[in-house]
């Protein structure tokens, strides 16, 4: 890496971009670089790191809004919100440890660029659903903004959605405004013990189709349950289906009781305390069951929830690995022993059969170069993606190839 830019102002970001533009240098864009392993390797001569461009510039709890510089650390934002009993409802995972960096290092820009979402996605949405607006620099070195600071806003195209999940390939975000929400007073988790995967999907569907506002629905097979730090889960000896209920105290108590009855007919029931509940969902969120096995590749699949068990079964028949479900079966975390193109083909075929996408989250460098990390695009979509790239970053300066070859 010839140059490492560490801008401290929006102007410096734009200048770094113009420098790259003038020399047609590829720039690797990052916040704190905690998720570098996600996506294809980027060949860049220079890197632009936003982590020093940090500050919470506006936080109005009663307006449910927070604006910060893109390099602001997520832990700082979460700390500030917690002081006011608020949170980022999309429950952003901390993927640092997954990619071998310490916990708590990620930045806001990275969270949005990767469109992070945790278990609460099913109830509250992903990062994309909470970005109200942003300012940034496009690949022509121009500073621009989109969106605003209010929740309801349809003024112009929703570019906030487009940059969420664009992995720094369209624009360098400098400021981001988020919708924030009150944190629930209480969190409780009901456990259904000993279900097979398909039965667990059925149980989760019943719970999610109930009026009890389930904010987390996950399934850990017996072998992965043992890895939990929660004693009752690790020692269960069987699979664990976990359903989370959050909200005001009296409401949580009643919903938990009703849910126990609803699920009781399906097997043995357990329950976690508020503290245990928070630990478990953090483990599920951060892919903790797979953290210790660094040799394996990790995939994230998003499929129609009712098809979760089918997809997992299809893959398991052909590929040596392990998986668990979040999002009621809609998100499958999969770790595989092999990381070949053939393995990827099996996984993608299983997903294609039901609709959805598969992302290679973590793999060795060779695999990251040869296997498509993001779901390959159909013809028309591929064309649109290339044209969007042309219209934000025509000279392919930003993170070239991070998502797709040539983009």
């Amino acid at each position: 890496m010839d140059q490492i830019f560490v801008p401290r102002s929006e102007g410096e970001v734009a200048e770094a971009v113009r420098w790259a533009l003038a020399g047609r240098h590829a720039l690797a864009i990052s916040g704190a670089g905690t998720k570098f392993g996600w996506g294809r390797p980027v060949n860049a001569v220079a890197s632009l790191k936003l982590a020093q461009f940090s500050d919470i510039e506006l936080y109005e709890p009663e307006e449910l809004v927070l604006s910060a510089r893109a390099g602001t650390s997520m832990s700082e934002i979460e700390r500030r919100l917690a002081q006011h009993g608020q949170q980022l409802a999309f429950e952003p995972p901390d993927f640092g440890p997954l990619f071998g960096t310490p916990a708590g290092g990620g930045t806001l820009g990275g969270a949005v660029a990767c469109n992070l979402a945790g278990p609460r996605r099913i109830h509250a949405g992903a990062a994309r659903d909470h970005v109200l607006g942003f300012a940034g620099v496009n690949g022509l070195g121009e500073s621009f903004k989109a969106g605003g600071r209010v929740v309801k806003n349809v003024t112009g195209f929703d570019l906030s959605k487009l940059v969420s999940g664009s992995f720094g390939t369209l624009a360098v975000m400098t400021h981001i405004t988020l919708k924030v929400l009150p944190a629930p007073e209480e969190s409780r988790t009901i456990l259904l013990l000993g279900c097979a995967a398909a039965a667990a999907i059925g149980a989760m569907a019943a719970a999610l189709g109930s009026p009890h506002e389930i904010s987390g629905a996950a399934f850990l097979p017996a072998a992965l349950a043992t890895k939990s730090r929660i004693v009752s889960i690790a020692g269960a000896g069987v699979s664990v289906t976990a359903l989370r209920i959050e909200g005001a105290g009296p409401s949580v108590a009643v919903r938990a009781e009703t849910l126990r009855t609803l699920l009781g007919v399906r097997g043995a029931i357990g329950e976690l305390t508020d503290v245990e509940s928070r630990v478990l969902w953090r483990e599920i969120r951060d892919v903790a069951p797979f953290l210790n096995d660094r040799a394996r590749a990790i995939w994230q699949l998003s499929v129609p929830p009712a098809n979760g068990a089918q997809v997992a079964g299809d893959v398991a028949r052909q590929v040596d690995g392990e998986c668990y479900f979040d999002w009621g079966g809609g998100r499958i975390w999969l770790s595989t022993v092999s990381e070949t193109i053939e393995t990827a083909a099996v996984i993608r075929a299983a997903v294609a059969a039901v609709g959805g996408h598969a992302t290679l989250m973590r793999a060795g460098d060779a695999a990251r170069r040869s296997v498509a990390a993001f779901q390959p695009l159909s013809g028309a979509e591929k064309h649109l993606v290339a044209r969007l790239k042309d219209n934000f970053d025509p000279h392919r300066i930003f993170n070239p190839g991070r998502m797709y070859e040539g983009v």
Binding site: V6, E12, A16, R18, A22, G23, E60, P61, E62, E63, L64, N115, A117, R121, R128, D129, S143, F144, K145, A146, G148, V150, V151, K152, N153, V154, T155, G156, F157, D158, K161, L162, G165, A205, G209, P211, A248, P250, V254, T258, S302, P304, P305, A306, W327, G330, G355, G356, H357, T359, Q375, S378, A380, L384, V385, R387, D390, N391, P394, H395
Partner: protein, 498 residues
Amino acid sequence: MRMPEPDAQTIARKDEIVRSLIALFRADEGAAVIHDAAQLRAFECDGLSAYRARPLCVVLPETTEQVSRILRYCDEQKIKVVARGSGTSLSGGALPLADSVVLGLSKFNRILDVDYANRCVVAQSGVTNLSISDAVASEGFYYAPDPSSQVACSIGGNVAENSGGVHCLKYGLTTNNVLGVEMVLIDGEVVRLGGRHLDAGGYDLLGLVTGSEGLLGIVTEVTVRILRRPETAEAALIGFPTAESAGACVAAIIGAGIIPAGMEMMDRPAIHATEAFVHAGYPLDAEALLIVELDGPAVEVAHLRDRVAAIARSVGANSVQTSTNEAERLRFWAGRKAAFPAVGRLAPDYFCMDGTIPRAKLPIVLTRMAEMSQRFGLGVANVFHAGDGNLHPLIMYDINKPGDLEKAEEFGAEILRLCVEVGGVLTGEHGVGVEKRDLMGEMFSETDLNQQQRVKCAFDPDSLLNPGKVFPTLHRCVEQGRAHVHAGELPFAHLPRL
């Protein structure tokens, strides 16, 4: 309101274009092309009826394949296309252009799949918003975004406008509830974005298309998330002596960590207009009225009801009434839901504005609006999605009075400028359309708008889809980047590096 100069040559070719469009339908399909003046009248405007134009013709396909053929033809012939769902847009989004073909989706009226296991419904884009909820009501489910126009507006129109409703404070807008679309691009290509799973595996094109006002493609099919109906819902009517105290109440409720299912405010003129119309039992002595809806399990609703009532009293509410049964809850809402027709009885015409402001600015905005009302000599009543700061001033005027329309337009523009001035935006849910098009510069710089227009170029390089909407000036999609690249002076010595 100026629209792009119609192309005389295209207009002169009307008969040939109509014949060609008819010929695009196969014999067994039954062509549906409306081209005679009398029948076209029904398509001259949308919900913003002050603006009208007669299109060349209206074509009403019923399959995605037909849409694809029509668009391919229009693309080849460089004919403009305006998509139309149910025509309830309040921003002129579906306003035809004199040299355009209107592509109506009224025949896309089937629900294709109800999938309880995945908690979603797949519907053709012309299906009305309410019929989605109706289709799943027997199993206790519903589709959450509920625009007041829900009996009429189409789900495709909702996607195009990213519509909201009184419950979007808690349940989100269209964009938070759509899982997938099938869309036809201007060159006739069909793309499927999303599906029954969550989030994109790459760029969030679905999120981009939602709210794009018919400028990027024609949506033919929509997959939406459905939710189980809450066990109970209850509404409270709270009267306040001032708009400030009502605003303080909203802030205090949210500050206490409560997100009600809906939180609507009405000002004195709106209270009086609706009370006279539907007799909902609103307190006529109040300067501002809040309707706070709570939903969930009965215990939760009861718990929150007491907290909301206590908060309301602590900020000086005059009266708090809580609905004790479903009929009463609906009655509390009846006034709010009838606000538009109620105001319609007070004046021959009205404009419904749609700015959003940071909630704390409400008192100042209301005060300044009252001043404007005096100055323009036009009445204004306010209904307000208070929880999320979305303001709907209804400006009353008489289109038959010379100068009234222009005054109303200027009044509306001043309100929207004020919204932007206090940190808000031009439109919360109705879209830019033609109505707010020329105000875009109040909120966005030239560079901001250029970046958005380049997104348009990626989808529709010849700007054939709904031109003249959203963007104040039409740009040609030229090669990108040439003019902007300055030879950078290396080595940027003062930039901090590691």
